[in-house]
């Protein structure tokens, strides 16, 4: 390159002017281009993970999938309103496939993945299988299904009904004039922890009443052959059945009852594990006229419930239904949210501390209060008669929410729990399979 001095001068001058212009342009454009040094990248929302531990395949899927959905619905609403403590909730929902031994693996997977709390389990076997994992990890499990009581853990919040909120009032009603003054009851259940313990408590309770158990039978979970059991019921002379049969075994139970032409007016089944969701899988003509004991029914005629039902159906489809334990599950999510907000932290101990004053939430089924002593919720008892349209007529309701007693004295003398004062007080060991 051969340039004159004038050229070199102009190049130098150009260089100087060009550099100045480039710097000026960069300075002017930088704020617009790289605002906040983020290149305009929208800040990633802060998140917090929660686990949803429900069987989505297998025998319990027909019941448990709806719990997953109502939890997703709750978290979607919470996220839309800004999340919890400014964080978006990211739900993770692995599938324990209705197998008790899969639950601990999935629970560990969720906790290892960073879930701050887990909502889940249906059967008591599953809950008991994961309990040590939550106690070891010091994380909270929120359990929304009715269960047998006789258990307390500082790391479990129990949102479902215990026998003094469900089974005992149901027995009272069966023995009342409205219930047909029943005297002889057949106790039927899946061969699981809940039915066996619930029936033990029921037998203890019946010993103080005029009603008496005339038979007791258990079937393996998932079993659908009830022909033998129905023969047993008829042979026992029972005038009512208390059923704690879980999952899709109910299809077989009601089919067998219908086949044996059992009239619900003469021998009604009082079930504890059938809600609107399960009715979708049952033949309406086989179940109509029987009864269910629950804390909530979709047919509850209140504006709050109507709004809740509409919101769920708008999101998940107009053929979807709500029921117990979806409603307690919804309340548990909101009680957890309240506790976290009150604690200002997702840390387990801080959240548990927030329980101490007794949290309350206005649920679709009525007000729910978390008892800090037992970490159980108070709730209404409601009794519904199954209609042909797969809904319930509410035939009875408790006047007030009933406070949960996980250790009813008649069945577990000497036992009590108070997590605000030292925890569990132990009485004599009780053999639930022993004679009553």
């Amino acid at each position: 390159m051969s340039g004159t001095p004038a050229d070199r001068l102009s190049r130098r001058e150009a260089l100087r002017q060009g550099s100045a212009a480039t710097l000026a342009a960069a300075r002017a454009l930088a704020p617009a281009l790289f605002a906040g040094c983020s290149l305009g990248i929208p800040p990633r929302a802060k998140t917090v993970k929660v686990g949803l531990l429900h069987s989505q395949t297998g025998t319990m899927a027909m019941s448990a999938t709806s719990l997953r959905d109502i939890e997703l619905h709750a978290f979607e609403q919470i996220n839309a309103a800004g999340g919890i403590l400014g964080r978006q909730v990211v739900p993770r929902a692995p599938d324990p496939r209705s197998k008790t031994d899969f639950f601990p693996r999935r629970a560990r997977q969720l906790l290892d993945d960073g879930s701050v709390a887990v909502f889940g389990c249906w059967t008591s076997s599953a809950r008991k299988a994961v309990l040590p994992i939550f106690e070891e990890a010091k994380k909270l499990l929120f359990y929304s299904v009715q269960y047998e009581g006789n258990e307390s853990s500082p790391y479990v919040v129990y949102g479902g009904m215990v026998p003094n909120q469900q089974i005992l009032p149901a027995l009272d009603w069966l023995a009342s004039v409205a219930g047909g003054l029943r005297k002889k009851i057949f106790l039927l259940g899946s061969d699981l922890v809940f039915p066996r313990t619930a029936n033990y408590i029921a037998k203890k309770y019946l010993a103080t009443k005029e009603m008496r158990p005339v038979g007791e039978a258990y079937v393996p979970l998932g079993d659908r052959d009830f022909s033998g059991v129905v023969k047993e019921i008829l042979a026992s002379g029972a005038d009512c059945v208390l059923s704690t049969v879980n999952g899709d075994s109910n299809i077989g139970l009601f089919a067998a009852l219908a086949k044996a032409e059992v009239d619900p007016a003469k021998i009604p089944v009082m079930t504890t594990s059938i809600a609107e969701d399960e009715l979708r899988f049952l033949m309406p003509e086989q179940v109509a006229g029987h009864y269910a004991a629950a804390c909530y029914f979709q047919s509850l005629d209140t504006p709050a419930n109507q709004m809740w039902v509409d919101g769920f159906r708008k999101e998940f489809g107009y053929d979807r239904v709500t029921g117990d334990p979806m409603e307690p599950d919804w309340c548990l999510v909101h009680l957890w949210k309240k506790a976290v907000e009150k604690a200002g932290s997702f840390e387990t101990e801080a959240v548990r501390q927030a329980f101490r004053d007794g949290l309350e939430f206005a649920g679709p089924g009525g007000p729910v209060r978390l008892d800090p002593k037992t970490q159980h919720t108070s709730k209404f008892f409601r009794l519904g008669r199954i209609r042909e349209d797969q809904q319930f007529d509410i035939v009875h309701a408790s006047p007030e929410p009933i406070v949960a007693d996980p250790y009813p004295a008649l069945a577990f003398p000497g036992w009590s729990v108070d997590w605000t004062k030292g925890g569990i007080t132990r009485g004599a060991e009780v053999d639930i399979d022993g004679d009553v």
Binding site: T22, L33, G40, Q56, E76, R92, P94, M283
Partner: protein, 268 residues
């Protein structure tokens, strides 16, 4: 951060499209201009006393540009084909879901209602949960559970009439079609051009720019002409980068086929 790992650069997909294009152009033009000031005087030493050096450099640049242009063009086409193929798979999957929904609608109750409900649940999951994950380059896993739940329910049904047998067989065929298309969609989430290809493209761009520094011309002319070439290279790179991941960036596949299907199902 491994600079040669394509995933290290995926945060760029979070930059709004116009700004990302501007960023690519700025980087390429900036590189050229800075090199014109810093590197050019050194490189120019090699051709300084060669008569007709501009002709030689121009010839080399033309040859190089042909090869490099071909390479860029082919890569851009490949990237576009990847996006188009992934898009076709998404449409295929949504069509299979739609056909399956129609098939199970003809089942007797309560199977029909429950199967339709499970399909709706799957579609909702794909739109609300799977797509945002795919857009972050994460393979969504929970859809598999929903498909399994559907499969279990479908196999629970035992046809009792010849027409039910035909519908059931067709539903199973559609389910297989759905499974195949879904698997292809999941593969596409991580599909991208290999790191070696990006290496060749970037080295090619640097050489292209370096050859331009060898020209003997007025400085301002150099900045302007070379800048235009660098800007165009930046735009090409941006285009390829944008199409690199089928579910990320401005040129990406939307959940529109599933959204349309979900809307139709809801209306029913």
């Amino acid at each position: 951060m491994n600079l040669f790992d394509p995933e290290s650069w995926y945060w760029l997909y979070d930059v709004p499209p116009f700004r990302l294009a501007l960023l690519f152009v700025t980087v390429f033009v900036g590189f050229y201009w800075v090199g014109s000031i810093v590197v050019r005087p050194i490189l120019r030493q090699f051709v300084k006393y060669t008569p007709g050096s501009n002709d030689i450099v121009g010839y080399v640049l033309s040859c190089f540009c042909v090869f490099y242009g071909l390479l860029l063009g082919l890569i851009a086409v490949t990237a576009y084909q990847n996006v188009a193929e992934a898009g076709a798979n998404v449409t295929r999957e949504a069509s299979a879901v739609s056909a399956l929904y129609e098939d199970v609608s003809r089942y007797p109750e309560p199977y029909s209602q429950n199967l339709r409900w499970l399909i709706r649940d799957y579609t909702r999951y794909v739109i609300k949960y799977a797509w945002p994950l795919q857009q972050q380059g994460i393979v969504p896993e929970e859809g598999t559970i929903r498909i399994q739940a559907f499969h279990d329910q479908l196999l629970d049904f035992e046809p009792k009439t010849p027409s039910q047998e035909i519908i059931h067989a067709e539903a199973l065929r559609q389910l297989n079609e759905l499974l195949a298309a879904r698997q292809l969609r999941l593969y596409s989430v991580k599909a991208s051009l290999p790191g070696s290809m990006w290496f060749v493209m970037i080295v090619g761009a640097i050489l292209n720019i370096a050859i331009c520094w060898l020209f003997d011309m007025r400085f301002l002319t150099q900045l302007m002409l070379g800048g235009i070439l660098a800007a165009y290279l930046g735009i090409m790179m941006h285009l390829i980068f944008d199409m690199n991941q089928p579910f990320r960036g401005d040129v990406s596949i939307s959940a529109e086929p599933f959204e349309a299907l979900y809307k139709r199902i809801e209306e029913q």
